[in-house]
């Protein structure tokens, strides 16, 4: 079967594409919609036959959705708004000022910046376990001081 003009293909498949993207991405479906059909348009001139055009475009839609997921993962979640106008790490920094250097860094990074122990370990040039220990001994020391 001959490849139909893009307009006919688009009219026939746009609702199905949007439905699939909504299922995969929810509210982000609209951005992915445009990207899907632009990608389809790029490849459309090279198609040799019109078999399974629906399956072809849904595959593109799923790839676009996967790219969106990947981008979403790479982006850190925005921090929770603070009740105090001062960021948490500023307050913690002051409190932790007198701790030994490594404990202070571990406490601030863990409770101020919400970093994982693995990330803290990497930042301090030590292991995940060492970072966890440094943070918990820092917290214990702080507790004793505040009592």
């Amino acid at each position: 079967m001959q490849v139909p003009p893009f307009e006919s293909f688009y009219e026939e498949n746009r609702d199905a594409v949007l439905r699939e993207l909504r299922r995969l991405l929810g509210r982000e479906a609209e951005d992915a919609y445009q990207e899907t059909f632009l990608r389809a348009l790029r490849g459309y001139g090279r198609l040799r036959n019109a078999d399974n055009l629906r399956a072809w475009v849904l595959t593109i839609a799923r790839r676009v959705a996967a790219d969106h997921y990947r981008r979403r993962e790479a982006k850190p979640e925005p921090p929770e708004p603070q009740r105090d106008s001062r960021p948490a790490y500023a307050e913690l920094g002051e409190l932790a000022d007198e701790l030994p250097r490594k404990e202070r860094a571990a406490v601030v990074l863990r409770y101020g910046y919400d970093l994982s122990y693995a990330a803290i370990g990497a930042a301090l040039g030590s292991s995940e376990d060492a970072a966890r220990q440094a943070a918990s001994s820092g917290v214990r020391r702080l507790r004793r001081r505040m009592q």
């Binding site: 139909p4 003009p5 307009e7 746009r14 949007l18 919609y33 445009q34 632009l38 348009l41």
Partner: protein, 190 residues
Amino acid sequence: MTVSPTLDKRFREAAAAAGLLDVAYDLAETPVGTLLVATTERGLCRISYDPDPERQLESLAETFGVRVLRAAKPIEPVRRQLDEYFEGKRTEFELPLDLRVTGFNREILKRLARVPYGQTTTYGTLAAEAHRPKAARAVGVVMNRNPVPIVLPCHRVVGANGSLVGYGGGLERKEQLLTLEGAIQPQLDM
């Protein structure tokens, strides 16, 4: 689940802006009816009195490529010049054309483009100019297949005795266009 007009329009505009289309087309309302107007990256490639895209799309795809999409922006200059023409403010079109015609067709259309606003010529004259004095009938066929009527003024070509003879868009339209240009007097319905 249906695609909203905004989302639809955004995609069509992005596709045209990205230069991904072989042909962009849209409908244009004019005093001689709804026209289908199509352009490529190179220029205006089709004006049709038959506004039903279904029939036109296949033929556009065959000649220019399958990436044919309705998009308003690329045809804006054509729409604007057509408006000006129908308001009597424009006597010449300044639009690049992408006709993809060869040989005799090309020869004749090139000569047709030079027939001035408000004047008429004959099939025989155009044939003679192309050094084929006996090809008046063949000139008629070329006029009938003119890819961009109005802009290439096949309505200005009449029979040797001054009768309107024929027009791809119907004689009534030919009369309407020639009346607009002042080439013939308005006909009174008695």
